[in-house]
Point group: C2
DNA sequence: CGTGGGCTTGATAGTCCTCAAGTCGGGTGG
DNA sequence: CCACCCGACTTGAGGACTATCAAGCCCACG
């Protein structure tokens, strides 16, 4: 991993800061750069002809943005900043180089891509199989567990900078209905979102609503 | 690619035949084998706690099954045969070997995985953004274009061995509603499914219904 | 203090689901 | 060869869930 570090450093560019709600990558861009999120959240989405957009995944600090573009050549989705965002810029050639001379690094990148694909599979399953309550419960759990896997997170104060409209676009619902459903979850003492913080009051109940399957 | 072939052949096992509607891989299996579809169709799906399943992707001849398991270690979804199926068996170590000594092969496998992920992104977008007509139109187009990209396909007789229930499970609808919507598409002269064959009568209309975006 | 964006809430309508019964075709056993 | 049977497909009526549209609220911000 010594030479890996050298490779990464050689192809690491400057960093970039962005306010919230800005374009990081636009659909169709050719994949010449990769980003690594230093701080802040982003999300990737597709827009779909009829003016509606579908959020495919949320991207948290530490994650790589634009891997698909580096492998396939072009990106089929866009990426926006969700919060203020700070990213470091990598040269996309790092992927080709990794495959050529750093198999372990290439393997790790592939694993990252596979994990990302896995999350999309889960989201698709949630949308296809659950009603509004189940979908929201699923997303809450997913976001919570992703963060808890890295840091120590208080279930009653888990960072959750996702707006109603983002939830709606991610879960195939409308903002109005997201709101109603959120109210129900709060009234029933399951979970609530306040001031960009998620409070999980009844984890087992939330898990049950989300389909029981702990990813 | 000479040595690639050697590697592939060295790790290619027997082949396997399966009737329709059988388990090829079960969720949770450790990824020690890969399959390459010689003939027939399969689909991969997740089941979701409440007894419902979500089909994530259809797998056509020539495609690889179980890549994710080979990269991540375990599989988070199951794979069933849709029609009678004939597959050849590969040793999953081929993936590790490819990364270690055949960068081009590894790259190609990664591209395959990325294309698969891309299809899931599209399906998720269709389910999140379209109503029943749009979703069905999307799936018809997707399946047609995947086949037309490989073989010469008659738009009026495109192989489509997908049952109502499969459509329902893939598109987040019920079999009954799939049927009604299929009737509407047929009556309006857009497309119809008969005897496992898809007939596209009005391609531009179908494309429009599917969101206009030609993948 | 005005403004704008996000949040809330209500009434209405539409899409889609549920449940159930009935049809059709192909395969099986007598 | 025919009766039977089963799975897949159809179709209908009623109801549940969610979208739509619109209005009002609230806070942060200029």
């Amino acid at each position: 991993t010594r030479s890996e570090e050298q490779l990464v450093e050689a192809l690491t560019g400057r960093s970039l800061s962005l306010p919230s709600n800005r374009v990081l990558i636009d659909k169709g861009e050719v994949g010449v750069v990769l980003y690594r999120i230093v701080s802040g959240w982003a999300y990737r989405y597709r827009s779909s002809g009829n003016g509606c957009r579908q959020i495919l995944d949320f991207l948290l600090p530490g994650e790589i943005v634009g891997l698909q573009a580096a492998v396939l050549g072009v990106l089929d989705h866009s990426v926006h900043s969700l919060t203020a965002l700070h990213v470091s810029i990598l040269d996309a050639r790092i992927v080709g180089e990794a495959f050529r001379s750093e198999p372990n690094l290439a393997m790790r990148l592939s694993r990252h891509a596979a994990a990302e694909a896995c999350r999309v599979d889960e989201l698709l399953t949630a949308i296809g199989c659950f009603d509004a309550v189940g979908r929201i419960a699923f997303l809450m759990l997913s976001v919570y567990e992703r963060q808890a896997g890295r840091d120590e997170i208080d279930p009653l104060a888990c960072p959750f900078p996702v707006r109603r409209q983002h939830l709606a676009d991610a879960l195939g619902l409308t903002g109005a209905h997201i709101n109603r459903t959120l109210n129900r979850l709060r009234e029933e003492g399951v979970a609530s979102i306040n001031n960009q913080l998620l409070s999980i009051r009844d984890l087992s109940r939330l898990t049950e609503l989300a389909g029981g399957a702990a990813p």
